[in-house]
Symmetry: C2
Subunit: 434 residues, 2 copies
């Protein structure tokens, strides 16, 4: 066993406490940063070799940003941090009794384990939707979606049949949270400013963008005023928003709603929810709502003092402001990541732990140029100022100065040119739209 560990993962034993972090999203990155300079060994495991700034995936999917400016290689981020180890690996099982995890590259021993592996798309058990709809959770999802959107218009050109043509040109987005709202807005900008120039042979007014939300309002995590304003913006921009509408089935051609109505579209984008994907080995009694791992106020997994779960993967109930658990967005993940790093240090230093209290700074969503909604603690705002705030907050959050700079330039460029420049299909022709 020991031989296998050393020959495959080759993580040198430094004789210091070893913290293994699974997943380099917003939360995992903060844990690693927080452990910098501390006498411990940090091991980050991820399936990808880069952090991905998920809030901007929708801009990659809609040709606004190029891929590379929203991802950042882990090794570059931590090149100067001592005793930091990265391994490109997928974790398949946890053995909590032995303090060992099984990964695609072999077994790894840990002293402290942080589960920061985020969430995955939740299709709520609808197998047909899972098979035919397009999720928007990873960089590859967004590249595929970009390929599909552009290719749809190339295919719409090739038919005389108005039904087939419309099935290519109509888009159904399910989920009225920030991802759905922002994607609908970006698609409508393509419709209004880009596609009429690219496809003079098509009647672009035939392009319909449907945003479907199961509850009575948009942006449920935000104020009612913001939800209403986002609705108004989208309607002004020509998006057909349907509230109180839930999906029943989708066969790749037609989406049927629970109210019996139906829409024809070859492209259903699923932004309706996420769920945890707990790694085998966590006791089932520790798995709560939405397959999130139940943690105490120190983010410790129930029954395991040295295993922490944070961010989208974790469910912490009882925080006074958020008794039902925190929203699955970046800020709670980052705050929990920072505190878990500190609490692990405290355990090692035999000091008492600090409980987590989420400091909610606000929420925001953008709909299009000059149009955003922002709910901050101090004030709420909508429109141009909100849009500037949204851009500023996203820019400072992007990892890496070069990425910030290139995203900023891309935005500036798009703003003045009304153009989205990255409308390219990157796929071998034989791979079809994928």
């Amino acid at each position: 066993m020991q031989k296998l560990i050393t020959t495959r993962t080759r993580i040198t034993d430094l004789g210091k406490p070893r913290i293994v972090v699974i997943g380099g999203g917003f939360g995992g990155l903060e844990v690693c940063k927080g452990l910098g300079g501390f006498k411990a060994q940090t091991v980050l495991l991820d399936k990808y070799n880069h952090h991905c700034f998920q809030p901007l995936l929708y801009q990659v999917a809609t040709s606004g940003l190029e891929t590379n400016s929203i991802v950042f290689p882990f090794r570059k981020r931590f090149a100067k941090q001592e005793d930091f180890f990265f391994r490109l690996a997928e974790v398949t099982q946890i053995f909590p009794e032995e303090n060992i995890i099984e990964t695609s590259i072999g077994r790894i021993r840990y002293d402290y384990l942080v589960l920061a592996n985020g969430a995955t798309t939740n299709f709520y058990g609808m197998a047909d939707v899972m098979e035919h709809a397009h999720p928007m959770k990873t960089i590859i999802d967004s590249i595929k979606l970009r390929n599909i959107i552009i290719r749809n218009f190339e295919l719409a050109l090739l038919t005389d049949d108005p039904d087939i043509m419309n099935s290519y040109m109509d888009f159904v987005i399910v989920g009225g949270g920030p991802t759905g709202v922002e994607l609908a807005g970006a698609l409508s900008e393509l419709k209004n400013h880009v596609f009429p120039k690219d496809y003079p042979e098509l009647e672009i007014s035939q392009m319909d963008i449907h945003l479907i939300e199961a509850t009575p309002r948009l942006l449920n995590g935000m104020s009612e005023a913001s939800g209403l304003k986002a609705l108004q913006y989208l309607q002004d921009m020509g998006v057909n928003v349907q509230l109180n509408t839930a999906v029943k089935s989708y066969d790749g051609q037609q989406v049927v709603f629970q109210n019996g109505q139906a829409l024809r579209s070859r492209t259903l984008i699923w932004a309706a929810g996420v769920k945890g994907h707990p790694i085998a080995g966590i006791k089932s009694e520790a798995i709560g709502r939405g397959a999130r791992i139940m943690v105490n106020e120190f983010n410790q997994v129930k029954g395991h003092e040295n295993i922490f779960a944070i961010g989208d993967a974790a469910l912490m109930e009882g925080d006074p402001g958020f008794p039902q658990g925190h929203p699955q967005v970046a800020p709670p993940a980052m705050q929990q990541g920072r505190l878990v790093a500190e609490n692990i240090k405290r355990i090692i230093q035999q000091r008492s732990l600090k409980p987590f209290r989420y400091k909610h700074q606000g929420s925001m969503a953008t709909v299009g140029r000059n149009r955003a909604v922002v709910d901050l603690k101090a004030f709420r705002t909508q429109g141009f100022l909100a849009w500037l705030i949204w851009m500023f907050v996203h820019l400072i959050s992007i990892v890496g100065f070069r990425n910030k700079f290139f995203v900023f330039l891309s935005w500036l460029w798009s703003y003045f040119s009304y153009d989205k420049s990255n409308r390219i299909i990157i796929a071998r022709p034989k791979d079809g739209v994928q």
Copy 2:
């Protein structure tokens, strides 16, 4: 038949002469541009929806540039050109007697046909090399190669066996033309400036870069002085250059040369040559050396007055300066493209045709920062000035102001940071290195 044409390709018959251009590389793009404003219908067909600036593919493969800044959507380029039609399609057959081509989206009638479908990698019939080596001709080749280079280092970390480790860290580039020389130089910059920071656990001095060339010198298309200088630059940068060495076989692990020597490497990059890939329907007597299509001095395919072939796809013998045919690089393709556009107009206007004479402006190759070789008509230069000229010429040749600007900024950034920022693996983990 007629029904099939109109329902599938949906190219409106404008009642004007129709020029169909197959392939939107350097040559095809010039044909389309040249026909702008003329009373004719231009139809561009390409497997991709974008032009690719092939001379910089090696910088995408070595993490220096992001993908999108070297490609440019055709529809954007020609949005303002009247009577221009683009179709995403692959051409499978030409029926010269009927003036029709068969494509993946149906049959298309032409009055004039321009074959500008370039060249493909030439493995000289070595099936094992074709199976295991990595070509460098398309944007997808270069993304795959980037994935493989980075992933190799992640895998090299996981072994104690020095042979296996070296097989991941050693790279064999076959072909001492500009692509091979530039790629070898870029890899050596990764070795010298980037990988030591990213992989402190690896002994980066173990990374060997081999450049293999079958003839006695590098950069055969350039002056002897430039070839020698490139050799010296590469050797200074630690590249192991082997001249007079031809590949015999490669099984994915070991490359064997015709002199009996061998090198162990999992990554063989094949930049040793290209060949035409003529479309079915061109008579075999019109196919010449390197599977290029034989054309007369007007780029007309032998036996077909209304079919032209240009650029890498064409072989024009008898140009006084280049009696054996033109080099397969961008400038002849562009000059032929421009002239073919003009000659098609002249045919339609019943004026006499102009013969092609290649105006060779010079050749150049870059090896690394401050190191390039430039042979111009007026003078030759090497080093920093050559490097500035190389950058200037490439920048002005990139399609689109935005792309020029972003490539320029990326170069500026890399120059001062000694960094290559795009070292990311974009592939689903289950897809492996591909």
